[in-house]
């Protein structure tokens, strides 16, 4: 091995001629590049901000390279190695940039294609040539030569590795060998994804925030969130693979999330710009408002105690306190709003404006209330001056009358009056009667002192002058005296009638004391009233000024002026702002944890954690109703559904909510008429309507009293869910905006049960005309879903309970051979202690069933819902005779209680069942003799009918679980009473998917039925003991076995 010793004179080992050539080339290139960059930097418009920074750095770097070139020119060997590394790296970077460009990336440095080619070629060839010259300059057989060659070869290999990977990234070959396709996109979702034509960005924002109490829980929650984020990201990668127009990003990191929020904020500003501007103006005025409130508060506190308004009502302190509260509220709101604006990446301007408006409105309402109260106070003195004489006279008369009555019997310490006791009592009775009347008159006169205005009277009643003690006003006190006199008179009258002379004589003596007390009370009241009336007429100057300012509309001085001049104008503006659209909810949606944000043009959609990771539901019949914390991945269906909603302008079909409405009887005011409604009114289906809309259906209502709305663009009115009514009180217009050839699906709601009332025509039920309209629509080609649920017994003609009937049975039985038994209630029980007996669990009123059948339709419609959280309250059976279905009808159960589920059956006596539950009677059993139905029980049916000359082929679904489609079940927690009190279960958000899937099947677009989560065979139950044994064997035993084997091997080796 020939290795020369070059360490003593390294400068002498380089080939002079070659190294000089490399140095000159380096200097030339460095100077050339620096001159070019200098020119670009001097031209202000040549480079953008970041480009200028890069140019400066590059300029400095080339300066260093130039200096090194000069060193090399001076014969310094170390300079050669530095330059070799520099040029090698430049050449390698140029090669990578070239490949990046060739594989579809942009032209390097943002140059034009021509310049790009020139620069890249130059950046590869020239550095490569200089490196080659520098390597050649090092003598053969030296360490430097070996090192140089190794360096070049290593860099070359790194470049080759990078290029190979770049090529493989540009042309990936992928094959999913996972048999169920759990981690990829379902074919249906893939179809929807591929239909996206506009560029779209989907970002995941999984923050793993947790409210867990302990560190362990927090760590577990974080790990769960990270695992779920990974799963979501995998799905998004699949989405991008399926359609490169859809960009996907993980915005869970701080930087990426900030970028996303900034982007969304920019868009949001376009929508809520007016709200934002107004909020800014209100915030600007709030500071001034706070100062004015403080000043007014101080001014009202300073009002003298003997002032009219303060002395009578303590009004100064009251207003000051109220202003202090308003100021506190204003200050708090101001702080909250400013904090939100400062901290939130996407402030909810609409909500903040509302919050601020309400706080300012509080101040405004204080101003209005003070003005009103002062006006009422101001009305009292003139009224008192006008009415005081009459009141004073009346009081004088009343006092005189009672005093005169006393003279008949004398004062308590006076001698007995002369004359017959009966005659004295008779005179006294007449006199106190007169006194009572006068006292009542006086009370009435005093009550009228404030005039007729009840508000002013009420203000007077609250004044100190009018309140003689804690409870009573002056008029009340006079009324009380009158009542005492009347009681005295009644007592005397009884004595006259029944008592003997001796008793009458005693009475004459006994009555003196109470009568004297009444006289004393009347006199004191008279003098108090005189003082009060006088006080009410004397208003001090300060109070007069307050009354005057109230009359001018500025009871709170500068604060009132500020409110009138500026704040009112701003608040008026807030009322004219457009109501926030659906996207007004965006900030609230974005503030949730763990979301997916879809940006499609100007539209933004947010998928919540609940959408993508819905919770599991406990299996039907399970003993425990406690919440299961496990969740499953539904991202495929949720994302595809969202994309479908975003990408389809034309609806697939229109869904008409067909309902009956009872007209107001003639002669009855519509305001007073409260007609019975069906158990599932259209207004209770808001969530379902929204889901149908998201699934690309248009939704409208059809009042069956009218002809079916036409599906055309007729000018005679249009009504769809966007602008149309929600409740049944708003009759549908005759036409919808949909295309005439759009398929129609009728969502037929149960009619109100017929009610028989004595002396009145029956209400509710279904008329032949209404039934005929639905029949005609289906015969003409519409599809239908009939919703039904168990109904309580109806009232018969004599008030007797009668089994309820499903109004649509007449049609279903005649045309389809199906029947819904709404008088039966399918309940779920738990096994009792006695064999064959069952107990009613706390959730007996709803079924937890998602085990859809295995038939052709059930497989399509129900399979995606298997294992989902589905609750069916008040379910009722759907029955049919499979062998005698009319006219080629074919029916198939969708959802069925299997024969093996003995703990579920249909109860005929639903009322009795509720009674049993209330009474806490423990064990029950099916009563077949009384009409109970045992499993198998069909709860939902799909049917088809071939067409003929008179009618089109039709598809139909009948759901005895229709009660599960209402908002109360879909969007509100399900409540139940457990041993530990009232508990709730998360809403059954997936229920409407059955209708959505059903609609797809009815219109023949099964390809849009989303796959839903895949059901994978789970790990079998393992007993706790077995689990512990396995843990010990695997975690401890296996490693020990390995160590033992190792020990054995080592021992054998030593011996052998």
């Amino acid at each position: 091995m020939a290795i020369s010793n070059e360490s003593r004179a390294p400068e002498m080992t380089l080939d002079r001629r070659l190294s000089m050539a490399a140095a000159v080339a380096t200097l030339a290139l460095a100077v050339g590049t620096m001159v070019t960059l200098a020119v670009l930097l001097v031209r202000a418009d040549a480079l953008a901000g970041s480009q200028q920074i890069i140019a400066v750095v590059w300029f400095a770097f080339m300066g260093a390279v130039g200096v090194t070139g000069a060193y090399l020119l001076a014969g310094r060997r170390t300079a050669a190695f530095f330059l070799m590394v520099v040029w090698l790296v430049i050449a390698a970077s140029a090669v990578l940039a070239a490949f990046h460009w060739l594989l579809g990336g942009g032209v390097p440095l943002g140059l034009s294609v021509g310049w790009g080619i020139a620069v890249v070629l130059l950046a590869i060839l020239v550095p490569a040539a200089i490196v080659a010259v520098l390597v050649a300059a090092v003598p053969d057989g030296t360490r430097s030569r070996y090192g140089s060659l190794v360096g070049v070869s290593v860099v070359s290999v790194v470049v080759v590795v990078a290029v190979v990977n770049m090529i493989s990234f540009a042309n990936p070959v992928q094959q999913d060998f996972e048999q169920l396709g759990r981690f990829g996109l379902s074919q249906r979702a893939r179809d929807i994804v591929r239909q996206v034509e506009e560029p779209m960005t989907i970002s995941t924002v999984y923050t793993a925030a947790t409210s867990a109490a302990s560190t362990d829980e927090a760590r577990t929650a974080k790990a769960d969130a990270e695992a779920r984020l990974q799963r979501v990201n995998e799905l998004l990668v699949e989405v991008h693979r399926a359609n490169p127009r859809i960009e996907v990003a993980d915005a869970s990191g701080e930087a990426a999330r900030a970028l996303l929020m900034a982007r969304l904020r920019e868009r949001q500003q376009g929508r809520t710009g007016q709200h934002q501007a107004l909020l800014d103006q209100l915030l600007a005025v709030v500071e001034e408002l706070k100062q004015a409130v403080d000043a007014e508060q101080a001014a009202w506190k300073a009002i003298a105690d003997d002032s009219f308004v303060a002395a009578q009502w303590d009004f100064g302190a009251t207003v000051a306190d109220t202003l202090a509260q308003a100021a506190g509220s204003l200050q708090q709101t101001d702080r909250v709003v400013r904090d939100q604006l400062a901290a939130s990446p996407l402030p909810d301007y609409v909500a903040l404006l509302d919050q601020m408006t309400r706080a300012i409105d509080t101040v405004r309402s204080v101003n209005d209330a003070v003005a009103q109260r002062l006006e009422q106070m101001a009305a009292i003195p003139p009224a008192a001056r006008e009415n005081a004489p009459a009141a004073t006279d009346a009081l004088a008369r009343a006092t005189r009358a009672v005093t005169e009555a006393r003279t008949i019997v004398g004062k308590p310490d006076a001698p007995d009056p002369a004359g017959e006791p009966a005659e004295i009592i008779q005179r006294l009775t007449d006199a106190v009667g007169q006194a009572a009347v006068r006292m009542r008159e006086a009370a009435t006169e005093l009550d009228n002192v404030a005039g007729d205005d009840p508000d002013v009277r009420s203000v007077l009643a609250a004044s100190r002058a009018w309140r003689t003690d804690f409870r009573l006003t002056l008029p009340d006190r006079l009324s009380l005296i009158a009542r005492q006199i009347e009681d005295l008179r009644a007592r005397l009258a009884v004595m006259l009638q029944d008592a003997n002379e001796a008793a009458l004589k005693r009475e004459v003596a006994d009555i003196r004391q109470p009568l004297d007390e009444i006289v004393t009370l009347a006199q004191s009241t008279r003098s108090t009233a005189a003082e009060s009336l006088q006080a009410l007429q004397n208003v001090d100057a300060a109070s007069k000024r307050l009354f005057a300012s109230a009359e001018d509309g500025k009871p709170l001085g500068r604060l009132s002026a500020l409110l009138t001049d500026r704040v009112n104008r701003l608040l008026d503006k807030t009322e004219t702002l457009e109501a926030p659209t659906e996207e007004g909810k965006l900030p609230a949606e974005l503030s949730q944890e763990n979301i997916i944000v879809i940006e499609a043009g100007e539209t933004i959609k947010v998928l919540s954690y609940e959408d993508v990771w819905p919770p599991y539901v406990a299996a039907a019949g399970g003993p425990d109703t406690e919440e299961d914390t496990r969740r499953f991945f539904n991202g495929d269906a949720a994302l595809a559904s969202a994309l479908l909603d975003l990408t389809h302008d034309e609806p697939f079909a229109r869904v008409l909510l067909a309902y009956t409405k009872i007209p107001t009887p003639p002669g009855v005011s519509p305001m007073q008429f409260n007609p019975p409604t069906g158990p599932i009114p259209p207004r209770a289906l808001t969530e379902l309507r929204q889901r149908l809309k998201e699934a690309n259906f248009s939704v409208a209502e059809w009042n069956l009293a009218e002809p079916m709305p036409r599906a055309d663009t007729g000018e005679d009115g249009a009504e769809t869910d966007e602008a149309g009514p929600v409740g049944p009180d708003t009759d549908g217009e005759p036409a919808t905006k949909d295309k005439p050839d759009l398929p129609t699906v009728l969502l037929v709601l149960p009619p109100a049960p017929q009610v028989m009332m004595r002396g009145a025509p029956p209400m509710g039920g279904l008329s032949d005309e209404q039934l005929g309209r639905v029949r005609q629509a289906i015969d003409d080609g519409a599809s239908a879903i009939f919703l039904a649920q168990q109904l309580p017994p109806r009232r018969g003609p004599m008030g007797m309970p009668m089994p309820s009937r499903y109004g649509w049975n007449r049609y279903l039985e005649d045309d389809w051979g199906l029947s819904v038994e709404v008088d039966k209630w399918v309940i779920e029980t738990v096994p009792g202690e006695t064999l064959g007996q069952y107990r009613l669990g706390p959730t007996f009123y709803f079924l937890r069933m998602s085990g859809f059948g295995s038939g052709e339709v059930a497989e399509r419609v129900g399979k995606p819902l298997r294992g989902r959280r589905l609750f069916w309250p008040y379910a009722c059976p759907v029955t049919w005779d499979g062998e005698s279905l009319p006219g080629g009808v074919q029916a198939e159960p969708l959802l069925e209680v299997p024969e093996t589920d003995k703990h579920i059956w249909a109860v005929a006596d639903a009322q009795g069942l509720s009674e049993r539950f209330r009474q806490g009677r423990d064990e029950i059993a099916p009563d077949v003799d009384n009409g109970d139905l045992l499993p198998p029980i069909t709860l939902a049916v799909a049917a088809t009918r071939p067409g003929d000359a008179d009618r089109a082929a039709a598809r139909l679904m009948v759901l005895g679980i229709g009660g599960g489609m209402t908002d109360g079940v879909v969007s509100s927690p399900m409540m139940y009473m457990s041993d530990r009190g009232l508990r709730t279960l998360e809403p059954a958000r997936a229920n409407p998917e059955l209708i959505v899937n059903g609609c797809y099947w009815l219109i023949g677009r099964e390809q849009y039925i989303l796959a839903g989560p895949l059901t994978v065979q789970p790990v079998a139950p393992i007993s706790q003991d077995t689990q512990s044994a396995l843990w010990i064997i695997c975690v401890i035993g296996l490693p020990l076995v390995v160590l033992a084997a190792g020990g054995l091997v080592l021992t054998l080796r030593r011996r052998g």
Partner: protein, 249 residues
């Protein structure tokens, strides 16, 4: 090829006669078992992260991902002695003067340690058997998972071998190896969400665990294949060059 095979057998035997290899193997299995088996009843935390949990979806995916993480430490520990020990003990002189090329030496050593790694991987079949007893794991996931583990193991072992050529001290070689492997298997995944574009993309593309995850979910992805193979080839090349440098340094 014969020389490589001879050397590989010698290395494999050497590994089996090394106590450290058995300890590493035991620890690797222990880590996998910890992930696989749900802990006994006293464990109060969530059981979702474990694999053989009753009523949970049966999948070995989590096990493969755990193995991938464990290999960040295991691979450098297995390879640290391969060249460093030869250099320290002076036997490298004998080796480099023998009628065998540097590339053959490196390939032989690599094949030997790969043999031990494959035996280690084979021992994890016990988890597959347990899974087969209590559930029906997806065959695609199992096959692709083991393929991914082979590829990842090859890349990490090559990186560890390269680290072993850098120094004569085994411990230092292990530390360097863990650092290099972490740069491929740990840091990119952690850093990618926090880096600005396009660095986050570069980091994401460098993340070996991401490729393993694709394999572990039953997905064959040519990008992962190329990535692992090119990394393996690259590190083996570097190892050859490092060994070669011992001749002329």
């Amino acid at each position: 090829m014969g020389k490589i095979w001879t050397l590989a057998r010698r290395e494999l035997a050497g590994t089996f006669f090394s106590p450290l290899a058995w300890v590493v193997g035991a620890l690797f299995l222990c880590a996998c078992a910890f992930k696989f088996c749900p802990p006994p009843a006293f464990w109060s935390g969530s059981r979702d992260a474990f694999i053989l949990v009753p009523h949970q979806q049966a999948s070995l995916r989590g096990l493969f991902e755990m193995m991938g993480v464990a290999m960040v430490v295991a691979a450098p520990l297995l390879t640290m002695r391969l060249v460093a020990e030869e250099v320290r003990s002076g036997t490298v002189e004998t080796l480099v003067t023998a009628p065998i090329t540097d590339a053959q030496i490196i390939l032989g050593k690599f094949a030997g340690v790969m043999g031990f790694y494959m035996a280690l991987l084979a021992s994890t079949v016990v988890f597959l058997v347990l899974m087969l007893i209590f559930a029906t794991p997806d065959a695609g996931v199992v096959i692709m998972g083991y393929l991914g583990m082979l590829l990842l193991g090859a890349a990490f072992l090559a990186a560890g071998l390269f680290a072993s050529t850098l120094t004569r001290y085994q411990l230092l070689a292990a530390v360097i190896g863990i650092g290099v492997v972490s740069l491929l298997g740990i840091f990119p995944g952690r850093l990618a969400p926090h880096l600005p574009a396009p660095l986050n993309q570069v980091a994401a593309n460098l993340n070996a665990q991401a490729y393993l995850r694709d394999f572990a979910r039953g997905m064959f992805d040519s990008r992962g294949l190329i990535y692992f193979l090119s990394l393996t080839a690259g590190f083996l090349f570097l190892s050859v060059k490092m060994l070669e440098s011992k001749r002329w340094r």
